[in-house]
Subunit: 378 residues, 2 copies
Amino acid sequence: MASIGTVTAQSMHFAEPLALRSGAALRDYTLVYETYGTLNAARSNAVLVCHALNASHHVAGHYADEPAHTGWWDNLVGPGKPLDTDKLFVIGVNNPGSCFGSTGPTSPNPNHPGQAYGADFPVVTVEDWVDAQARLLDRLEITQLAAVLGGSLGGMQALAWTLRHPQRVRHCVAVATAPNLSAENIAFNEVARRAIVTDPDFHGGHYQRHGTLPKRGLRLARMIGHITYLSDDVMNTKFGRALRHGELAFSTQDIEFQIESYLRHQADKFAEYFDANTYLLITRALDYFDPAREAGGDLGRAFAPARHNRFLLVSFSTDWRFAPARSREIVKALVDNRIDVSYAEIDAPHGHDAFLLDDARYHGVLRAYFERVAAEAP
Amino acid sequence: MASIGTVTAQSMHFAEPLALRSGAALRDYTLVYETYGTLNAARSNAVLVCHALNASHHVAGHYADEPAHTGWWDNLVGPGKPLDTDKLFVIGVNNPGSCFGSTGPTSPNPNHPGQAYGADFPVVTVEDWVDAQARLLDRLEITQLAAVLGGSLGGMQALAWTLRHPQRVRHCVAVATAPNLSAENIAFNEVARRAIVTDPDFHGGHYQRHGTLPKRGLRLARMIGHITYLSDDVMNTKFGRALRHGELAFSTQDIEFQIESYLRHQADKFAEYFDANTYLLITRALDYFDPAREAGGDLGRAFAPARHNRFLLVSFSTDWRFAPARSREIVKALVDNRIDVSYAEIDAPHGHDAFLLDDARYHGVLRAYFERVAAEAP
């Protein structure tokens, strides 16, 4: 299994406004995307990969000038890999509202020339992202995806594809996801948002105009997020109660334990590259996703439009952010609709993060499924 | 079961320095405490109640001028209650480092006249608290406690009593506790501390001198703590995905969900009365507690001094902060030492907070145990 090698990001501008679920519209926007493999003559072998909170269009390979910056799902996507680019044409796309190239809060605000959107960037939802992605496929002249794939928030987008554009996708592969956030999930998001919004450098979201960055808030947000991505078990295995300096310093402010050092390091890294307004937008998109709400609270009824789609759901035993029980809710809704669904509950120690890791059983399940997807492509 | 009625806090000053585990000393200090019931002639019916992060000496009853401010374990302690003050003499004591009356960071620093300790208050540990409590018992002329009782961090103190002063306590009742914090527990504490320490109003812990209070940090710390005290289930039952205003506002900064409103309210209340330096000290005391460490990592060996004590351990099924498995570690260490231990795992939906609530099975277990404790008191 070779890496896909050097890749190049592309971009596409959309001049027509995107109507958003909130009632607002995104006046015009650019999407950054990458593709891997070759679109077949029938244009029937495309797989769209949707990203989660902290990722982008850069799914696999590396850029010529950044050999160390491999894509976030490089272990999954490439020649001979479970999502085999010798057979499938894979598309990664950065969502609007993000901070990795597509139009987002750090982009110029067309309504206020010379200023960035900042806090004025409209609230975007999972459904809005799916609509934006559909327009990209229009331009790429892909009428129907062989599959849409995503983990976590990306899994929500994959599910939303089957509800909004069921005729445009054959298979939906949703990993480590949920039909909506629990109260606890929302609570963690809210603490992260309060950390950002109450940072004095946030300035109501217009920090760019003030020449500041709310890094304190971003660091805290990342620490909270990181805890929820890992399982208690894997944290104990990796860090346990190991001390940073071999013995206690008896200090409330200095680092005593390795886990503290790790979290602070992750937080510092994140605050260097992630945009605070994007963090607010993306956590809100997570909060808002709730297909059952529009179907009178009935998830089964919500999935009725997807009756001709086929699904693979995957969850991980130690994922307490989106526990297996949440995936089973989706499976039940599909089964209630007599929809074709495969479900794998992978016994893995890594918590929510497992969806990004190279676990043999997990990748085996995806490989088998995508072989079927590829074989079916006309 | 009547409430204990009106109670009065007392205080005791200790002029002799308290040697601390860190190597530092507390030069002199005052402890605030309350007592309920009557000490018998043999002075053998005393039960010490140790408090957790957010509590104090005010365990039961109410003050004459604050009828609404009932003690934090009022449902447990009183005439005819599980901890029956018709039979037992109950003592609640506020630990040094706290912000509820005993000497702590907001107290005058004897080394810097005219200034509060602030960040210069020495780091205190569970063991230091137990030593300070033992001195209070000396003054009260109580040679041996009928029992020491605590939940969560209070449970750690109850356990530490049997390791440091095993001859001074007959029974140890430790509820919803753990033999040490997991990496995840430490991680949550660390995020809370970073929220406080990086609040620009913290001023290195000397905010009193600057006329500020790091309320932003305290609010975040409380929100994080609160999430870990509740179970996912009880949060879903109490709040679920209920909206604050009936419909979505599509805002990243305004309140959308009831759970957000609840957390912000709890955070605001907490930031009004709790001291930030105390929060740092108490979370560190939690982090540091680890009796096995001094016994070469062997919890069984750590409990060898407690061989003449008798124990009741209680845990709650949905407590994910200090899960039942953590209590079972303690039970195993005791059993390995052939120490008399009873253990109850209570099926309760409320998470860690269950130890404060009036659950019939839980209170039944405590009632039966304390009847035995009282009957044995000479």
